[in-house]
Amino acid sequence: MGEEELEQEQEQVVNPWEVSAKDGGKIDYDKLIDKFGCQRLDQSLIDRVHRLTGSPPHVFLRRGVFFAHRDFNEILDAYEGGKKFYLYTGRGPSSQSLHLGHLIPFMFTKYLQEAFKVPLVIQLTDDEKCMWKNLSVEESKRLARENARDIIACGFDITRTFIFQDFEYVGGSFYNNMVKVEKCVTYNKVVGIFGFSGEDHIGKVSFPAVQAVPSFPSSFPHLFSGKDDLRCLIPCAIDQGETGKMSASDPNSAIYVTDSAKEIKNKINKHAFSGGQDSLEKHRKYGANLEVDIPIKYLNFFLEDDDELEHIKKEYAAGRVLTGEVKKRLAEVLTELVERHRLARSAVTDEMVDAFMAVRPLPNMFD
């Protein structure tokens, strides 16, 4: 018994609140996939997506940022047969400012919406943050609306997107489904999964149902009434808090969507750990260590041009390109992203947020 427990402590940790590798090393994604009963998103699947959607697969798919799936093939089979699906993603609005790591699941979801031409529901769990971060109800609701602006700025199509916040939407059919789900899960089970103790308040115990229920179309009668067998695809990230941070130990090194070009440049220069050599001669001779180089890691995420990325990696590893040049390119790429986001966000008015969040039919959602 004791031995088993010891083994568990040394494993990597992935739960709703923490993601950490064994002995501070790298996350073993194969083990992760195994543990969660998923499969790898291999090249044949990516090609299939390309064929079915008629548009190039997203950079995150090509680069393995989204690397695992469960039953994705089945959704694609149904799609090929003319049966659509809807997307579901969400955010816990705990802070006003978003950094690049927060945007990643939304960027990917936007691509899925556009490529497959399907509707999307976005859940803002203001109740979760009210409970876990001990914010007031008003503050949580306010943050949810603020975050909605940044989410909208990612480019979601209002004719196919329904954004809702729990404090406003929970009730009616949604709540009916919540109770049905709650009845299926014992207290012991939920304690086992989430690690609750006798001291945790009761709101936390049934909260998981709130996040489960958007995956059932009957939770949205104004959208999917009569379509009870509509499938739901849920893009989600495991360690999204880590990305966007130039330095793992410094939360202030993350690139925020409100950062100026200058701030971005400074954060990269100051915090991004370089895999380059200490001196020019050594670098020309040995090249850079791409494994630990943070700028390369981020170019991998955000530089869309595959050829250019390959070229940079090759030249950097050979020592022909310097760290400064890689950082400069990264700064350009991120600045472009952030400025595009800022411009889009400036278009978001209160009326637009109201419209995205209105309980209304979306007659063109599959067009």
Binding site: S94, S95, Q96, S97, K133, L135, S136, E139, E146, I152, A153, G155, F156, D157, I158, T159, G241, K245, P251, N252, A254, T258, D259, S260, A261, E263, E304, D305, E336, E339, R340, R342, L343, A344, R345, S346, A347, V348, T349, D350, E351, M352, D354, A355, F356, A358, R360
Partner: protein
């Protein structure tokens, strides 16, 4: 020249601010001040004049009993640990224009102090009145927190009361809650892409710009909201035509971006390099480089049209038949 004690007192009377004044020998510490006004009820205050590594200045005014931990304060301001220390003596004279031992919120009446950020102890509001030096250490005046508020407003400042003893965690999901108090010209208007809308009140003073969202207590996570405020105003001001609502402006923006990219791609070098194939190369590059930006513009144009229609529809009251 800095304000004198008499000028300040006259100003307070003009504003019809209720206060009591007590003359006493010059004092340099709270303990010494207590000897003369300690028995008059209300709260004695300690006033710190602080400076961060970028030479930005702060006055932290607190009840004498409030524990102010400089390390915690530094983190809450987003300056890291140990990012803040006592300001040098010269700054007292130069910026606040008060003598040693006389730091006081009233020093903000001086123009020279316009960039100094002010943090007030929320404990002030629980006191019947609080004691401050009116720009000179040989007198103490006592007034209610609301009256201090009134005075600060009269010099274009916002009085924001903060829980100085709080020690909220600062981390990846919890941005420094007092970051809005860090004075800076640049955070207010960081390269806005379009026209800038003038902020309310005094643009010099970053603190007053946060009028909209800075409530009385700043206990929950609040991040520099100045940029967001400007963006909100830009969004509201977009009931004026913008690229997102006016087709002509949208097309102009698209064509401008395309032409400038085109011009940057057609240079002597590229002509030499690609010759007759330059057209294809440039066309490909334009598609590659502009696609995301233009898609973003287009979807927001669509969303804007829908939102405006939706608003009109939901506010339409059909005439009763």
């Amino acid at each position: 020249m800095g304000y004198t004690k008499d000028q300040l007192l006259a100003r307070l009377k003009e504003l019809q601010i209720d206060f009591a004044q007590y003359e006493h020998p010059t004092v340099l510490t709270v303990e010494a001040q207590a000897k003369y006004v300690g028995d008059k009820g209300g709260g004695l205050t300690k006033n710190l004049f602080l400076k961060d590594k970028k030479s930005r200045l702060y006055i932290v005014s607190a009840l004498a009993d409030t524990k102010v931990d400089m390390k915690v304060l530094s983190q809450r301001l987003g300056l890291g640990k140990g990012g803040i220390r006592m300001a040098p003596e010269e700054a007292l004279g130069e910026i606040l224009q008060v003598p040693l031992g006389c730091v006081t919120p009233f020093a903000l009446v001086n123009e020279s102090a316009r960039h100094v950020s002010l943090l007030l102890d929320k404990g002030f509001r629980t006191q019947e009145h609080c004691f401050f030096h009116p720009l000179s250490n040989d007198m103490s005046i006592s007034l209610h927190a609301n009256d201090l508020d009134k005075f600060l407003k009269s010099v274009g400042r916002e009085a924001t009361f903060v829980d100085l003893e709080a020690n909220p965690p600062v981390g990846k999901d919890q941005p420094p809650d007092l970051a809005a108090f860090v004075p800076s010209g640049s955070t207010i208007l960081s390269d806005p892409p379009e026209k800038t809308v003038p902020l309310q009140g005094h643009t010099e003073n970053p603190v007053s710009a946060y009028k909209k969202s800075t409530a009385t207590t700043v206990k929950t996570t609040k991040v520099p909201v100045a940029v967001k405020n400007v963006k909100d105003k830009l969004a509201v001001a977009a009931h004026q035509p913008s690229v997102f609502s006016d087709a002509g402006l949208l097309v102009e923006e698209i064509l401008n971006r395309t032409s400038s990219l085109l011009l940057s791609e057609i240079k002597e070098d590229s002509i030499r390099q690609h010759g007759e194939h330059l057209g294809t190369v440039v066309a490909d590059n334009i598609k590659k480089r502009l696609s995301s930006d233009l898609k973003s513009l287009a979807i927001m144009f669509k969303n804007t049209a829908y939102a405006q229609g939706f608003y009109a529809g939901t506010h339409h009251h059909p005439k009763p038949l």
